[in-house]
């Protein structure tokens, strides 16, 4: 069986390491990454190898077939997300290993939380069972809340509390949707639901509840209020993980369930409505990002904006013909992955700039270009992808979405793509203008350790490179989906 060991290791290993990191002395907690990262990278690559040779498979936990047991789905989409998670989390972990040295020892609880977060995310990517997804969401969500609270300042606690309330409300709405679906169809397996689901009020209400719950967790405008304080106020590696990966998990579930239930059940206006909310997010988030005075708040609002692009998936994939739908799928996933890489890079390099000037204010960045060119370079590379300039992943994603919009005759989304890019350019250049301005403000800066700069640079470079070599990952991502060849 393909991935017999590597598939369960993807969540069992981080869980075990999470527990282990509680048992060792605080000084040793970070060092477990040197055991965990190589093993998880190996497991992720093994799963990819299995996908490339055998194609998509189903992993039957406990050897029970769904719907009695819980199955895991190892298709292109899941494997793609797993690899993305492994790359981003590993680099953030290396960053945190250095970054947290100067923080109080209570922040070493970052490590158990990190492992649990990782286990939760991998659990979600692999899940095929809608109740199992609920538990996975809780593992990931509570770990994320804990990470936000880690700083233990009043601001951090308030942000964590707000985040927790949003996450809990979202989970409950999701759970109620699951309850309705189980009541109506007697199964929790997505494959079973796809077969059984018909168009009736129960499915529609259940889907509406699930969508609402997941929108809240994804922080789509106008349900985004919890995000900027949580993402902008957390420790830098936490901000990067939350913005790059955690909010993607709830979007991912939405995407999967939409393809399972959506097209038959939902009226087209639901899809258009989600697209409109996405457009709202792009404009509002971009505008708010531009208005921020704190660097990390700017980056956090940029996340609010970038989430919006992902939601163009729904109008572009629903009743639009196979070619446009496939382009929408490709484009959305490219945007998702590019944003994960670029946003992690942006947060990490923003953290480096803040370390360098010792202030979170954008206005204090005056003249920093002379001292920290490398941090600024990573920030710029990541910015290129966020703005959607060639040859970045962000560009490829937008290009694919643009084609999909033209093919399906929904030209209005082009305005969103275009204006959204301009807004991103505005807030990225706001930071640059300040950095290149010569002023009296600083004549020296702190030099952050090299690891911090290198991890940010790697992430930013991959965000660019993935745009150049988009063909192969997109081919893999389609495997096992309705858009795949085999």
């Amino acid at each position: 069986m393909i991935g017999l060991w590597s598939v369960p290791l993807l969540f069992a290993l981080p869980l075990s390491l999470g527990i282990l990191s509680l048992l060792v002395v605080p000084k040793w907690r970070p060092r477990l990454i040197f055991l965990g990262l190589p093993l998880l990278a190996a497991a992720s690559l093994d799963v990819l190898a299995g996908l490339a040779t055998v194609g998509p498979t189903v992993y039957r936990l406990g050897d029970w077939a769904a719907p009695l047991g819980i199955n895991l789905v190892v298709d292109g989409l899941a494997v793609g997300m797993i690899l993305m998670t492994t790359l981003v989390t590993s680099l953030c972990a290396l960053y945190a290993w250095v970054y947290l040295r100067d923080h109080p020892s209570s922040t070493t609880f970052f490590w158990p939380l990190l492992w649990f977060l990782w286990a939760g995310m991998n659990g979600i990517w692999l899940a095929e069972d809608i109740f199992n997804l609920y538990v996975g969401l809780e593992v990931m969500g509570l770990a994320a809340v804990g990470m936000v609270a880690l700083r233990a300042t009043p601001q951090a606690l308030a942000a964590a509390m707000r985040y927790l309330l949003a996450a809990l409300l979202g989970s409950l709405a999701y759970l109620l949707g699951v309850a309705l679906l189980y009541g109506a169809y007697g199964t929790l397996s997505m494959a079973g639901l796809q077969e059984a689901a018909t168009n009736n009020a129960t499915t529609q209400v259940a889907l509406a509840l699930i969508i609402l719950g997941l929108l809240l967790k994804t922080a789509l405008f106008p349900l985004h209020a919890w995000l900027p304080p949580a993402h902008g106020g957390a420790l830098t590696p936490v901000s990067a993980l939350l913005s790059a990966l955690v909010i993607k998990a709830s979007f991912y579930i939405l995407m999967r369930l939409w393809l399972v239930l959506g097209p038959e059940v939902t009226p087209e206006f639901t899809a258009q409505f989600l697209g409109v909310l996405g457009a709202g997010a792009v404009f509002y988030g971009g505008w708010m990002a531009w208005r921020q005075h704190h660097l990390k708040q700017l980056v956090a609002y940029s996340t609010v904006a970038q989430i919006g692009y992902l939601f163009l998936f729904f109008p572009l994939v629903t009743n639009t013909g196979p070619e446009a739908a496939r382009l929408a799928w490709d484009g959305t996933l490219m945007m998702l992955i590019a944003h994960a890489l670029a946003k992690a890079a942006l947060f990490l390099s923003a953290g480096n700039l803040i370390l360098a000037v010792g202030s979170p204010q954008i206005s204090h960045l005056v003249g920093i270009s002379r001292f920290r060119p490398m941090s600024l370079f990573s920030f710029g590379l990541a910015g290129v992808s966020l703005m959607g300039l060639p040859p970045s992943g962000g560009f490829t994603g937008k290009w694919l979405l643009l084609h999909s919009a033209i093919l399906s005759g929904q030209w209005w989304w082009l305005i969103v793509l275009f204006l959204g890019g301009l807004l991103s350019a505005a807030y990225i250049f706001k930071v640059f203008r300040m950095s290149f301005r010569e002023g009296p403000q600083i004549d020296r800066s702190v030099t952050p350790p090299l690891t911090l700069d290198v991890t940010a640079l790697i992430l930013a470079s991959v965000a660019i490179l993935i745009g150049l070599t988009a063909h192969l990952p997109l081919h893999w991502l389609r495997m096992g989906s309705v858009f795949g060849v085999g």
Binding site: L4, P104, P154
Partner: protein, 233 residues
């Protein structure tokens, strides 16, 4: 304020009506899971269906759920360390209560043991037994009992970790013949589940108890209460 009440009222009314509509309009299900559970029971290693679902058919859910519980403790530990407290003073230290506790405690432990053992063929199991254990601890503490051994961080954490580590360990060891994660061999399923439940009971009891204990205690004088200062409005 009134706007909020009206908005909340409309929203929750809308949700309720939609839910009611969903309940009324639901189709008759095609799938019959209870039948599947019934026919798989002989292979599950236990006789009580809920235990079979929790610890065999859908044991992966249970595994993740234990992780959720642990997470709450991790956050509590982290925040406690971020703002260290004085050694806590708690409990009523009432001799009568203590006397009652001396009788009650063994009884509670017996109940916990029974619930755990009963779980394989009738209602009960690790979660119920674990929460009874935790209840015993809470009562003991309210009575001013000494739970000092819980302050031994290493011991406490080992106890917390035991359940999940055993669960994952057994899930992995059974894979050696080349079967998927958590596939118990039919002959040993009952024993393995019992071992998992036993360790889970201990860990769940400790976890729930720590959630109670790890809340920041009462500060003795207000002066040291504000370690962080109020945020600026």
């Amino acid at each position: 304020m009134i706007v909020r009440v009206v908005m909340a009222g409309l929203l929750s009314l809308g949700v309720t009506v939609a839910l009611g509509w969903a309940v009324l309009d639901r189709p008759a299900p095609v799938e019959n899971l209870p039948d599947r559970v019934a026919s798989a029971m002989p292979e599950s290693g236990v006789e009580h269906p809920v235990t079979a679902v929790l610890l065999n058919f859908r044991s992966y859910d249970t595994l993740l759920e234990i992780a959720v519980l642990l997470l709450a403790v991790v956050v509590a530990l982290a925040l406690r360390e971020a703002q260290p407290d004085r050694p806590e003073q708690m409990g009523l230290d009432n001799p009568l209560l203590r006397a009652v506790m001396a009788w009650l405690l063994p009884l509670i432990l017996v109940v916990a043991g029974f619930l755990l053992w009963a779980g394989s063929y009738q209602p009960g199991g690790a979660f119920q037994a674990g929460s009874v254990l935790a209840a015993a601890g809470v009562l003991l503490r309210l009575a001013g009992g000494n739970l000092g051994w819980l302050d031994n961080a290493a011991l406490l954490r080992a106890g917390l970790a035991l359940g999940l580590l055993t669960f994952i360990g057994i899930g992995m060891v059974v894979m050696l013949p080349g079967v998927p994660f958590l596939t118990y061999p039919d002959a040993h399923a009952g024993t393995l589940i019992l071992v998992i439940e036993l360790t889970l009971t201990l860990s769940i009891g400790l976890t729930l108890l720590s959630l109670f204990r790890l809340n920041p205690p009462y500060a003795d004088d207000p002066a040291d209460a504000r370690t962080q200062g109020a945020p600026k409005p």
